[in-house]
Symmetry: C2
Subunit: 427 residues, 2 copies
């Protein structure tokens, strides 16, 4: 009897082939990324013996999906360079009335301790809900950031980076301020939905009286193993997404994504700035287009993401190529032409999104789209110039609507014994 | 470089160990359940060559998560006896004004054709959105049912089963009628969120002018491989759920879950009745309880689901056992005592739920809980008597609130060349 055809919850008789397979999977993933720039490394780890997930006798072992584990401590925070996770939660908190720097420091200390435990597959230190019990770490990452308003409320205005200055207004913005911004930002990602929810509730509980939830959003990506394309993002428009992302290991990956170790302000050393946009897709309009129309909007083939000028997904786009009628094969307002990396300072941002779907309105119109999340050393060289260009004539813009926005300073990773943001809050 | 540590979407160099592992995983799951009662069997299937998911050269193979496939045609519809899937959508549709039996028959024909294609990992026949492109079937199931109001609208009152009579009112009900009931019901489950969303949109598109969406809900369960407990449900209260579910292969499984082949009405042969309840969990209240208090509410240990009278999850509960103070070890109002199968006609229902989380209200209170879905040959011997007992003194009732409800007749599976409900609509 396989686990796909039974309803019951009893440990089954072990299947030797399965045990062997699971171990093989774990081992095949127990590899480090050989680049200095990457951190928050995801390691395969044996399923039995990790915190919660100690296997009962005779149980089916975890697969890599459950046993993979991201590391909390390091040069950078986790949740930036790792592959896309299947489930995500974004949340913003505002400090409570009367809470200041001291309360914020205590909160970041609690949050860091919880993130370290949960990412290792262990229960929270106090009052764990047990929702993640039996599960492996499932690549859980928890990431923390500070918004513009945080620095007013904590008397830390002198430490506020200029990079946190509010983003310019864009013509496609229809921003709901109640779902934008916030003093503190938390990103949770995991390959299991209950592991992710468990972490979200633990983070909310840790906030206690110090901060209250301002907004929260849920998202998703492909499950690992569901596709033969390794961790390709395909979004809810059906498009391949992320082709020209900088890759860990690229010569200038660190320069684009992370604040240098000697950067300014000092507390942001090895940190990054994240732009978060809830981008609703007008799917009913989009799906009325023919395949050719959709491909002309994007400038790429829908099937595999190759440029309309030919080749494969990674082939350089030929911007000058014309068709029989003399017009450009990649239309002048095609999304991929406008966002082309060499036109925008070399893809100075790393996109790491989740899709979202929050149901339908009364008319049957889906509330669905992209939780766009991009990472950069400097928003004025990353997100802003690209979005300015899109604002001036992107064919895609009539099929999307930016409904919420946030910009947060995400400090570098905490060393052992430290908490995230310690250099800001105790500097 | 592993797929867990890169952002990019290009096929990577094949890793022989990985290929071997994935193949092993697929093979280890290619097993049939040797019981006459089960259908909609989930088979492992090779990743390459299935519809969409033909692997590009050099790509990482699908794991069993992606390649597992449920079968559309059979004695019973899929989505009833299969293991819990990681992602789920529930939707109800009402027939449009002027649409009747003829339009309903055409819709069920379209829906059946779409379900067959998508469950095989193939694109929809017309205007596929390509959101599932590159992915394997990922255990997708699509299941269709008819509500009480369907029979009025289609002039089929004589065919309406008595089992569809409205459920009695329960004291814990706080039902939103706009999110309850409906002419037609669709359940979608898959182990990949984009595969599930793709199917939901295809079903909505097929509805066309014949039916409009009445309500829709999203849910989730553990991802396969995230836990060493095979397909145990743990809910958002942290409780093991489903211990006493009847199991395919039990002597009376079919009798409990499915209408007999010679049952009444004839078009429901091999069908089942499904009760769907959106049960909100009052998690802030629940999580204030101590572990001991929570265990007394449930009558089971939280860690492993064993009865408080001792043993393991599957040990029979000792209802008479008393503690040193003379009181019952399993409290008289404990949820597990009241729902004990031998007190309720032998667990005459099969529970197959999804958890849900639709964010938080303005006060930070989670809108989360259980999409309770239970299957039975007769609701008056399944759901109703159990819920009546719970209504009279279940300790759990103050921590949950039933916010929506539906009862649907789910006909037997379609044979090749037939569509679901054909014997009703053309009978």
């Amino acid at each position: 009897m396989t686990d796909r055809t039974t309803q019951e919850s009893r440990p089954t008789v072990p299947d030797p082939r399965k045990a062997e397979t699971a171990t093989g999977t774990v081992l095949s993933r127990r590899r480090l990324l050989g680049t200095a720039g990457a951190t928050g490394l995801v390691l395969g780890a044996a399923g039995a013996g990790i915190g919660y997930a100690a296997a009962p006798a005779g149980a089916t072992p975890l697969t890599a999906l459950g046993s993979d584990r991201a590391v909390f401590h390091g040069k950078h925070q986790p949740g930036i360079t790792e592959g896309l996770q299947a489930q995500g939660h974004l949340a913003a908190f505002d400090l409570a009335a009367g809470a200041g720097r001291k309360e914020a420091a205590a909160l970041l200390r609690r949050w860091s301790a919880t993130a370290e435990r949960l990412m290792a597959g262990e229960p929270a230190a106090h009052g764990d809900t047990e929702v993640a019990r039996d599960a492996g770490p499932s690549s859980l990452t928890i990431t923390f950031g500070f918004g513009h308003s945080f620095f007013d409320r904590t008397g830390l205005l002198k430490q506020r980076p200029a990079a946190l200055d509010p983003l310019p207004a864009f013509s496609s913005d229809r921003l709901d301020r109640a779902r934008s911004d916030g003093d503190l930002w938390v990103q949770i990602g995991a390959d299991d939905a209950l592991v992710a929810f468990h972490a979200l509730r633990a983070v909310q509980k840790d906030a206690g009286g110090a901060a209250r939830l301002r907004w929260q959003m849920n998202g998703f990506n492909r499950s690992p193993g569901a596709t033969a394309r390794p961790r390709t993002a395909r979004n809810l428009m059906g498009q391949v997404d992320g082709t020209h992302n900088p890759r860990p290991g690229d010569a200038d990956f660190d320069r684009r994504v992370f604040v240098p170790a000697d950067g300014d302000p000092g507390w942001m050393a090895n940190g990054s700035y994240v732009v978060v946009r809830r981008i609703r897709m007008l799917l009913d309009d989009w799906e009325k287009l023919s395949l050719t129309q959709q491909e002309n909007v994007m400038g790429r083939r829908k099937s595999d993401g190759a440029p309309l000028s030919g080749g494969t997904e990674t082939t350089e786009m030929d911007l000058e190529k014309t068709g029989e009628d003399g017009s450009y094969v990649v239309p002048v307002n095609a999304h991929a032409r406008i966002t082309r990396p060499d036109q925008n300072g070399g893809a100075a941002m790393l996109r790491r999104p989740f899709s979202y779907h929050d149901g339908f309105d009364a008319g049957g119109v889906p509330d669905a789209g992209l939780l766009f999340i991009c990472w950069q050393a400097d928003p004025l060289r990353g997100f802003v110039p690209v979005q300015r260009k899109l604002d001036r004539g992107d064919a895609l813009s009539q099929y999307v609507r930016h409904e919420a926005s946030g910009l947060f300073a995400v400090p570098g990773g905490a060393a052992k014994g430290e908490y995230v943001g310690q250099r800001l809050l105790e500097g």
